[in-house]
Amino acid sequence: MNLPLLNSVTAFLWTEADLLDHAEYDAWLDLWTPDGLYIVPIDPNAHDFANTLNYAHDDADMRSKRVTRLQSGHSVSTLPAARTVRGVSRIRILDQAADGKVTVRGAQDLRDFRKDVYHQHTADITWTLVPHGDGWRIERKVIRLINSLDTLSTLGYIL
């Protein structure tokens, strides 16, 4: 087991999680490669996301629009904003290619609290990371919520 790699990847993923829980969305946008895709599937067995309906299938333009909307103050479902705390764990390096690209899978347990209600969103997440200086950039993030085939509640933040 390559512990330095695991450490480096884990530190990066924890940074991503921390940025999102603190709504530091502009910094989060900078973590991505320009051609990166942020995907939240409906069907956990889907792989051809472009030709399937998802909850989200965001290229750079859509990620940026999503952040703009969350910061706009015009979306009534985000006023007040939900507070979120997420745990990211069970990190496992699935693959490292010769060019350094890493496929990593982890578990995310997120609680949000808004107005007077808690919500829970538990997901299995697979990231594709490419080396960037001493760190990483996200090329793909696929968030498979364990209740994705059932009814969700509003997600007025970024998973």
Binding site: T52, L53, V76, T154
Partner: protein, 424 residues
């Protein structure tokens, strides 16, 4: 916490609760009224259960509800649509727990009773213990009457109801227009978003023909589209209209030039679809077909509300599923062209993802408004939901009544049908 259901309120005749220009708040909050609705409306009218593309071949099924009763919607071996209660005739176990699938038969997991796709009971393991007292012909899965129009499948518990075509009436021609989103290909529903909001189902029913909220609630969505699209969606105060089509149905026309997607195909292609049009030309489609496909991707310029539980809404089907007096489940089913160009269907999927669903830029804000309606409904002793917008300018048409695009004509239509069924 709930609105008071004082003895006085319960004794009020239902006709007192629905007036020409307003309805009583108890329609959103009274659990007794909700129970009555599940019986007097959902067991006594045509209820949408599926689009035919969801069960494309014999053996394909989906599970849904009519009212709160779970049903299996299946295409049988003879291509007929069946709607069967999802309940074994032995000791009541559900036969199907998947949302959709394909089966040769329905076998109960508890004791193995097996039913054919038409619901008939075919096999009972170890029948000897019944001797000759079990008549399989008497124990099929309970089936509902089923009819369809324009690919939309409806079921009813009411055996002597008028034919679906009569119930739909003038709504049929709007359904035909809506299905032009196939651009000549069959319409296909490849997926849907599901979510719940803590509010009464009729709050969402009203919203389908509510233009009034669009500029404000969907401000953040409008901020994310190009200026030409934003202008197109600025329809309040414009030339559109809302029409009461009878039987609780209504249509809200927001963009009159997109009512018939095949009319005036030579009009300029919207800027946001220029790249798609180029890709379609490069794939070899002739210019007219390029334009038909682009029109299909953009969707129809109207919302058609079919009482009580389904709408053909611009570019998708919206399905209402009452859960309780203050909780409702909603499905937003995306529409694509079966066999159509991938690049066009991808554009459709991305457009649906942009607005609809719990991560869309539109739906969550709608849901928030509806949740707040339910919350606000807890306040006050004897207050009313005002539905008088557009009454002064309302006039009669061959199909019903019409008023300006932001009128509440559609809501008034729905509640008149509500009252008719609740007092039948």
């Amino acid at each position: 916490m709930n609105a008071p259901t004082s003895p006085d309120l319960l004794k009020r005749p239902l006709a007192d609760l629905v007036r020409e220009d307003r309805v009583h708040t108890s329609l959103y909050t009274d659990p007794a009224l909700f129970e009555a609705e599940m019986d007097r409306i959902f067991k006594n009218t045509w209820v949408w259960v599926a689009h035919e593309s969801e069960i494309p071949q014999p053996g394909h099924y989906k599970t849904h509800w009519v009212g709160r009763e779970p049903v299996i919607v299946v295409r049988d071996r003879n291509q007929a649509f069946r709607v069967l209660l999802n309940r074994c005739r032995h000791r009541a176990a559900t036969l199907c727990e998947h949302k959709k699938g394909k089966a040769a038969s329905f076998v109960c997991p508890y004791h193995g009773w097996a039913y054919a796709l038409d619901g008939s009971l075919r096999g009972v393991p170890h029948p000897e213990s019944y001797a000759d007292t079990l008549n399989k012909a008497e124990l099929p899965l309970v089936s509902l009457r089923v009819e369809s129009y324009a690919g939309m499948i409806f079921a009813t518990f009411k055996d002597d109801i008028e034919p679906l075509a009569d119930f739909l009436g003038p709504a049929k021609k709007w359904m035909d227009l809506f299905m032009k989103q196939g651009a000549g290909y069959p319409i296909k529903v490849p997926g849907e978003h599901r979510f719940r909001f803590p509010g009464n189902w009729k709050i969402q029913l009203e919203n389908t023909t509510d233009a009034y909220h669009f500029p404000l609630v969907h401000k953040s969505f409008l901020g994310s589209v190009d200026p030409q699209t934003e202008r197109m969606l600025d329809f309040v105060g414009g030339p559109g209209y809302v029409e009461d089509l009878g039987n609780g149905h209504s249509v809200m026309v927001m963009i009159p030039e997109l009512v018939d997607l095949e009319a005036n195909l030579d009009d300029p292609i919207p800027e946001r679809f220029e790249e798609l049009a180029q890709q379609l030309r490069a794939e070899g489609h002739d210019e007219q077909q390029v334009r038909r496909i682009v029109r299909a991707v953009g969707g129809s310029g109207f919302n058609l509300n079919l009482f009580p539980n389904v709408a053909c809404s611009m570019a998708f089907f919206r399905v209402l599923q009452p859960v309780s007096v203050k909780e409702t489940e909603i499905h937003h089913a995306v529409i694509t062209m079966d066999g159509g160009p991938d690049v066009a269907n991808q554009a459709r999927l991305r457009l649906h993802e942009h607005f609809q669903g719990p991560m869309g830029f539109g739906t969550p804000d709608d849901s928030e408004a509806w949740e707040r309606v339910q919350k606000g409904s807890q306040a006050g002793e004897d207050l009313w939901i005002m539905l008088n917008r557009g009454l002064p300018g309302e006039r009669v048409t061959p199909d019903g009544k019409v008023s300006d695009v932001s009128a509440e004509t559609g809501m008034r239509a729905a509640y008149q049908q509500w009252l008719k069924l609740m007092t039948a």
